[in-house]
């Protein structure tokens, strides 16, 4: 099996406070992974660190992507390698339309960028996600509902076509219809050349996007690793059960 992401003994601080306390985690190509854990356990910290957020300081350990050490790369370079993070809280950028933004990033990521291809692709991907043309002409996330923001993240994912896809609570606060659409988008992109890491509190989305592996994080550490069944058990018993063990 090919390892796409390897996180080795990762320690991360925010504003001088240690949040991640020695994370070891390996993701394989072609697999769907779930990361679960109580609020505040450090899941977003972990994935933001993988994406290269400057606020999260790696004090020990390293991150390898396809065998290459990326611990010190800037976020844009990581994106260029094929890492994508669907944000838990996407930012609102006034005055920049979704389509302009997508065009700008697609130009950065795709050396063979062609405008007509881009337009065609955008239309196709919009239709998969049931996003109107009107919405891609609106300013990026400005005045979007929670569901629209998440759909918009998935649209970016489909357009940019990354290798490692990280979804940070993309399902939170979605109604069942939106959830299905997002699952459809993820299903569309997934193949054996890609890898997904999905952060969620709920088993619900895992019924549509079936994980091969489930990781549980508590207080900045991965405390348990298991198969698909782990998510179900968790839903039934809650995190208290693990903490007791």
């Amino acid at each position: 099996m090919t390892k796409i992401l390897e996180i080795k003994n990762l320690h991360v601080e925010v504003k001088g406070k240690e949040i991640l306390k020695g994370i070891n985690l390996t993701l394989d190509l072609g697999k769907i992974n779930a990361l679960m854990g109580p609020n505040g356990s450090g899941k977003s910290t972990l994935v933001n660190t993988v994406m290269g957020h400057p606020k999260y300081v790696v004090t020990k350990g390293k991150i390898l992507f396809n065998g290459k050490d990326i611990t010190k790369l800037s976020p844009d370079k990581r994106a260029k390698l094929g890492i994508f993070l669907s944000f838990q809280h996407p930012r609102e950028i006034s005055g920049v339309s979704v389509s302009k933004f997508l065009k700008t990033s697609e130009k950065e990521l795709n050396p063979k960028f062609s405008f007509s291809e881009f337009k065609k692709n955008l239309k196709e991907k919009r239709e998969i996600l049931e996003i109107s043309e009107n919405m891609t002409e609106r300013y990026l996330n400005v005045g979007f509902s929670g569901g629209e923001k998440k759909k918009n993240e998935i649209l970016q994912m489909l357009i940019l076509n990354p290798k490692l896809i990280i979804l940070d609570e993309t399902d939170s606060g979605l109604d069942i219809d939106s959830l299905k659409i997002i699952a459809k988008g993820v299903g569309e992109i997934m193949n054996k050349e890609k890898c997904i890491l999905i952060i969620t509190h709920y088993k619900r989305i895992l019924e549509y996007i079936k994980p091969d592996k489930v990781f549980i994080m508590i207080k900045g550490k991965i405390v348990l690793e298991g198969g698909n069944k782990l998510a179900e058990e968790l839903e039934k018993k809650g995190y208290g059960w693990i903490e007791k063990e």
Binding site: H53, S74, D76, A79, F87, I93, V96
Partner: protein, 463 residues
């Protein structure tokens, strides 16, 4: 990376002058300017009176510091060795012609303009208006000629009811040493469909430029006039103190657009004012990118009922720059309305401030004003400020004001960078979004140019 346009801005020609005053200003020089131009006695008197006012008035003690401006070191009057008001570019000296070519002026003239004036140092060296406009009675010349040929109009309108020489120290200075500039008269009900443009270029070190723009749009007429300006960079300061006077008569409409891109050693102390009669409309589009220090507050005096002023302004302050700009509107009569949209960007220690005034007089019932001024700082070293004043003396009015000062945020940058944009591209995108409301309101050619200029400035300061 230097682009073609930046090279054009920076281009320095060898000094080739018919006349160059000595440094500083005195009565003798003012008399010489007036004599060279063969002016009527009353204009000489006006200049001399203004010189006294200039000497008496104190320097402004509010706003940016003018300490670096040594008024006794400026060359106030420089006559290029070129024909005055040539009607063909072939008659313009080669190096000067090349400068304007690189700035894109003759090309724009051929493609999108109805007429062009080009000033170099103190004099207008090229002036031309399309035949059909001339036939409709439109007058487009420099002010030196305007005064010769239309003395009565000048007596009535030149620095009288619009900008008085007593307005402030630099209006007085301007009146004493003004030279060149633009005179436009649009006859009643004539609509000039394509814009007229003037371009003011300074070339010499420690130069002063004092071009005068006088526009009279007669009843029911329409005109769009564009001004561009630039100068190459020197270490010593230079001074630009122009005046723009616009008379919008009953039911007329004037759009005045300018992008000022003075070199970063220029003190740009400019005065622009429009007097708007009943049902008239003035539209200001004001871009300030260059200069060391700019103090510029285009002003609309809404004198007739139902008259209107729209202002769009954008200022960019980079390293060592202080842009102090804003719009003033006086609502004198009922049903007058004004809008102000201003965006300031500061980077690399630059300071950009919005300083504006809305004054509504008693009796100006059913008047409306809406002001929006925003500042964006691209880093921690830079500053953005707003000083909007509202002085409302009438109850039956609608006035709104919004201001927002912000910094390019780390979280926004991270979001954009996570999609593959390098930091500089991410900043550019955020800035382009910030100025989007302004770009949207501009005609296309303009929007493209302004966007380009700002992108270049950002590239130079953050890359």
């Amino acid at each position: 990376m230097e682009t073609k346009l930046q090279k054009a801005y920076a281009m320095k020609n060898k000094e080739d002058l018919k006349f160059k005053s000595s440094e500083g200003l005195n009565e003798e020089l003012v008399r010489k300017i007036s004599k060279d131009k063969n002016e009527p006695e009353w204009m000489l008197k006006k200049r001399l009176d203004a010189l006294r006012t200039f000497n008496e008035k104190p320097m402004p003690d509010w706003g940016p510091s003018l300490e670096g401006l040594n008024l006794s070191k400026i060359y106030y009057y420089m006559r290029p060795n070129a024909k005055n008001n040539a009607r063909s570019w072939d008659e313009v000296p080669k190096d000067i012609k090349e400068t304007f070519e690189k700035l894109g002026i003759p090309k724009a003239e051929r493609k999108v303009l109805g007429g062009v004036g080009a000033q170099y140092e103190s004099e207008v060296i090229y002036h031309n208006l399309k035949k059909d406009l001339e036939e409709k009675g439109v007058i487009f010349s420099d002010c030196d000629n305007g005064l010769k040929e239309h003395e009565e109009i000048f007596k009535k309108y030149f620095m009288t009811t619009c900008i008085s020489p007593n307005l402030h120290k630099f209006a007085a200075l301007h009146c004493a040493v003004w030279s060149g500039g633009t005179f436009i008269y649009v006859p009643k009900n004539v609509k000039v469909e394509i814009p007229l443009q003037a371009y003011f270029r300074m070339n010499s070190k420690k130069g002063g430029q004092f071009e005068h723009t006088l526009i009279i749009a007669d009843e029911g007429s329409e005109i769009h006039y564009i001004e561009g300006c630039s100068a190459p960079q020197y270490t010593e300061s230079s001074l630009h103190a122009g005046c723009v006077e616009i008379h919008v008569l009953k039911g007329a409409r004037v759009r005045y657009s300018s992008i000022e891109n003075w070199s970063k050693n220029t003190y740009n102390l400019n005065t622009k004012r429009a007097v708007v009669e009943e049902d008239g409309i003035i539209e200001w589009v004001n871009g300030n990118l260059g200069s060391h220090t700019t103090m510029l507050y285009p002003c609309s005096v809404l004198k007739g009922k139902n008259s209107k002023s729209d202002y769009i302004g954008i200022a960019y302050a980079g390293k060592g720059q202080y842009q102090d700009t804003g719009c003033k509107v006086y609502h004198l009569k009922e049903k007058t309305s004004s809008t102000v949209l201003s965006k300031g960007i500061s980077v690399n220690g630059g300071v950009s401030s919005y300083r504006g005034l809305i004054k509504i007089n008693p009796g100006a019932i059913n008047s409306k004003s809406s002001v929006r001024c925003d500042g964006l700082m691209l880093d921690n070293k830079s500053k953005a400020m707003t000083f909007p004043s509202m002085d409302v003396h009438e109850n039956q009015v609608e006035v709104s004001h919004e201001a927002a000062i912000g910094k390019v945020g780390e979280e926004d940058l991270f979001y954009l960078m996570s999609r593959g944009l390098p930091e500089s591209e991410a900043i550019k995108l955020i800035v382009s979004g910030f100025i989007e409301p302004i770009i949207k309101a501009l005609p296309l050619e303009y929007a493209v140019e302004l966007n380009k200029l700002i992108e270049l400035e950002i590239e130079n300061s953050v890359c």
